[in-house]
């Protein structure tokens, strides 16, 4: 067992871990942050995606000991108290989730990508390449893509009319009236 110190969602945390404990297992089992979900544990599905020093990484393919001295952000660190993060609001507004299992991973994937490239949504191919990192078995990605554009615009301080975007109806579902 090894004692480690790391920063999680801005708070200094200590933990005692086995070398083989993944960062995802430390977050979920050690620190009780169960927002990070585990699907495949092989780097493929992306549900475990968190930010490590600002970059989106797979928490199932990172050891907890490797995060010692580093800064981790999880979905629990997105909201500001009761105020949801623009990404979270956009996911709700654009129907970017159904069962929600993949959602924490997509939120952190996009939080990392938009911090690095605030105009990511202006290049549809780039945005699709980023979104293809993670799997969603429910939504078919159209809502997620829309939510990404919505949140990106709001994070840039631009107004975003979600009804208008929805009426464009890329997915053929009118006006969010499901």
């Amino acid at each position: 067992m090894t004692d480690i110190e790391l920063t999680v969602n801005g708070e200094p945390r200590r933990a005692t871990v086995e070398p083989r404990t993944s960062l995802a297992d430390l977050l979920r089992d050690g620190l009780g942050l169960t927002g990070t979900t585990l699907g495949c544990e092989h780097g493929v599905c992306g549900s475990c995606t968190v930010l490590l020093d600002g970059a989106a990484v797979r928490a199932c393919l990172t050891l907890a000991v490797q995060a010692a001295g580093h800064e981790v952000r999880t979905v629990e660190g997105l909201a500001d108290g009761d105020r949801l993060h623009p990404l979270q609001e956009a996911f709700a507004a654009e129907h970017a989730l159904q069962c929600g299992f993949c959602t924490p991973g997509f939120l952190m994937l996009l939080a990392g990508a938009l911090a690095a490239e605030p105009e990511l949504d202006r290049d549809e191919r780039r945005l699709d390449q980023v979104l293809a990192s993670n799997l969603c078995r429910c939504t078919g990605y159209v809502g997620i893509r829309r939510a990404a554009a919505h949140a990106a615009a709001r994070l840039r301080g631009e107004a975003y009319d979600d009804r208008e975007a929805d009426e464009d109806g890329e997915d053929g579902v009118p006006g969010g009236s499901v």
Binding site: P19, R20, S22, E41, A56, V57, Q66, S133
Partner: protein, 293 residues
């Protein structure tokens, strides 16, 4: 599955890493990005007694340039190469290839040197290393040695590295102005590894091919440089005739393995198509550049 129990060290220097490797030999595994090794350990196909994490080793990061070459430290990540901005077509080639290696969160951690050390036959970086005959730099208890890509890849997941050696970096030749580069890949689904991939670099002189490199991924049990196809082109005008012949030869040089979704003739066909496409585009780009200079 969770990996089997192992010990863990994260030494701060190359010297300490090498001495640990000397002490533990085949019982130890080097952990770089972990984006292949940790999966293997989860499947328990690999059960090292000790992991030597090199992520805290000083001096393994960064791309160092000299007039003839670019040296990638062992901790240069796929994502660093996706953003490579130095003034040589080699940087453009890195930017072309990198987006095909896994996804952004994998690319944030996985390393170029780790790809070469892992030696997956379909790995894009291994094909690039084969095409340009990159030199793998190793440090062992006896000192340093360099192994060219042609002697590095011995089989699937098998390299010339000895158990007590650390890959400290990889040296690639700079391509120089006027060199045009192309990359093409075919995969069954977005998330699959390459069914076949092709790296091409071409330089023309007086409208004829003066220098060309062709690298193939997943065309054999090791990454290949299609030397016979290259020989077809040298001294020729880079037109449809010689390019078609070179593509044909490259497909014959390949020695693909039969797979459920890719018979040997099918994979040869895909390789020929990708080689022809890459050569055609690269030759046009090289000619356009020559006309502009």
């Amino acid at each position: 599955m969770k990996p089997a129990y192992f010990d863990y060290v994260a030494p701060p220097s190359v010297a300490e890493t090498v001495s640990l490797l000397g002490e533990h030999g085949t019982e130890a595994s080097v952990l770089a990005g972990g984006q292949s090794l940790l999966i293997e350990m989860r499947y328990r196909r690999r059960r090292p007694a000790i992991l030597i994490d090199v992520n805290r080793v000083a001096g393994l990061s960064g791309i160092a340039l000299d007039p003839a070459s670019a040296r990638l430290g062992a901790l240069v990540r796929h994502a660093d190469l996706e953003r490579a901005r130095f003034a040589d077509p080699l940087a453009a080639l890195f930017r072309l290839v990198a987006p095909n290696v896994a996804h952004p969160p994998i690319r944030a951690r996985g390393t170029f040197a780790g790809s070469l050390a892992w030696a997956h036959p379909a790995a894009e970086w291994c094909a690039l290393a084969a095409a340009l005959n990159a030199e793998v730099e190793l440090r062992g208890p006896y000192g340093e040695r360099r192994v060219p890509a042609g002697a590095w890849f011995l089989g699937p997941f098998t390299t010339a590295r000895l158990p007590d050696e650390l890959v400290t970096g990889v040296r690639l030749p700079r391509l120089g102005p006027g060199t045009a580069v192309r990359f093409a890949e075919h995969r069954r689904t977005h998330a699959s590894f390459a069914l076949a991939a092709v790296v091409v670099a071409v330089r023309l002189a007086a409208e004829r091919v003066a220098w060309v490199r062709i690298g193939l991924a997943n065309a054999a049990d090791v990454p290949l440089r299609a030397v016979e196809a290259e020989a077809v082109l040298i001294g020729e005008r880079a037109g449809p005739g010689p390019i078609a012949e070179a593509a044909e030869v490259a497909g014959t040089e390949a020695d693909p393995v039969e797979e459920p979704y890719a018979s040997v003739p099918y994979r040869r066909h895909v390789l020929r198509t990708l080689v022809r496409r890459c050569l055609t585009e690269a030759a046009e780009a090289a000619a356009a550049e020559a006309a502009n200079r």
